[in-house]
Symmetry: C2
Subunit: 193 residues, 2 copies
């Protein structure tokens, strides 16, 4: 039961922080949404910062669950897996009126300079995304979809960071244009063999 309550607080916090950012989200607001009695927050978390760090783990876990169906689909080539993931997120953001963006990216922007603990945790989270793309690109090289002399780590880093920039622009454009532009350039220029 204790685990359930903690999970409920993390989930509610993750949702509110995703839209409003970390500083702008109040603990009371999180507890209200989670339906958890006032005052119980500190039974589960040492501080708001400790909570924020654990929310990052929650986001990484959600991301892994979301992309699992593409990564494990043996009918797809590595490039098709990447297309599948990008396409899924484009549809997701369409359905959310182009709000939210990537919670890890948002927190990197907001907290990167303000808290070393957040910064290190966020770096690990972004690195884990880079690692997933790098593994797919290595697979693509083995499958002959991508030229073998390219540095997959560098390309994966660029895909992840330019995706983050596209999400940022999506939020103020309120359109899928920047995301579609990202996908187009990645596949037309970067990944052409």
């Amino acid at each position: 039961m204790k685990g359930d309550t903690k999970k409920r607080i993390l989930k509610s916090g993750a949702e509110i922080i995703h839209l409003k950012g970390f500083h702008h989200t109040g603990i009371q607001e999180i507890l209200d949404r989670a339906g958890v009695p006032k005052g119980s927050f500190y039974n589960y978390f040492k501080s708001k910062e400790d909570f924020g760090i654990q929310v990052i783990d929650f986001y990484v876990e959600q991301f892994s669950l979301l992309i699992k169906k593409f990564l494990e689909d043996d009918a797809l080539t590595p490039f098709e897996k990447i297309q599948g993931i990008l396409g899924w997120f484009i549809e997701f953001f369409k359905s959310r009126d182009y709000a939210y963006g990537c919670p890890i990216g948002n927190l990197s922007q907001e907290m990167g300079d303000l808290s070393p603990e957040f910064r290190i945790k966020l770096k690990q989270a972004i690195d884990s995304m880079v690692k997933i793309y790098a593994a797919l690109l290595s697979e693509a090289q083995k499958a002959g979809e991508l030229s073998g002399d390219l540095d997959v780590q560098d390309i994966a880093g660029f895909i992840v960071s330019s995706w983050q920039g596209a999400l940022l622009r999506m939020k103020i454009e309120k359109s899928s244009g920047p995301l579609e532009n990202h996908r187009k350039f990645i596949f037309s220029y970067l990944l052409r063999t």
Copy 2:
């Protein structure tokens, strides 16, 4: 004199918001740094939001001043102008320990979903950057540096958004790696003729 005080408040606010974000910056903190008496803020600004909107104009003005020397240097080719601008910013962020990032990008991330007034103003600010790159890329096409059949508006949009993503990653990496990776990919893949 009134104009001077207002400018001083904007400059101080711009500096603090650049590091800490909009919500996390207090009006009193801005007035303290500007050395302006308590309570005078509302002589110049209708609200904190009105102030934030004017800070965006201030950032755009600063950006224009910074890049002017590259844009107006007739000894440089269009590609060299872009290299000059990117190189200048890489050195700037090195000298600031890879903190801050782009104030327009930061605010887009923080405020894009929360205030329509901010969103529209930020979109105009980002569009003005895209316009500058698109003009340079058109010049590059005329000068034969860039293939004439590419859509300069789309490429300029991608350069700006992927730069924003690189800055975001720089903040958590605390290294110039993501910025240098951005420059490398833009010139090795996107702008190769």
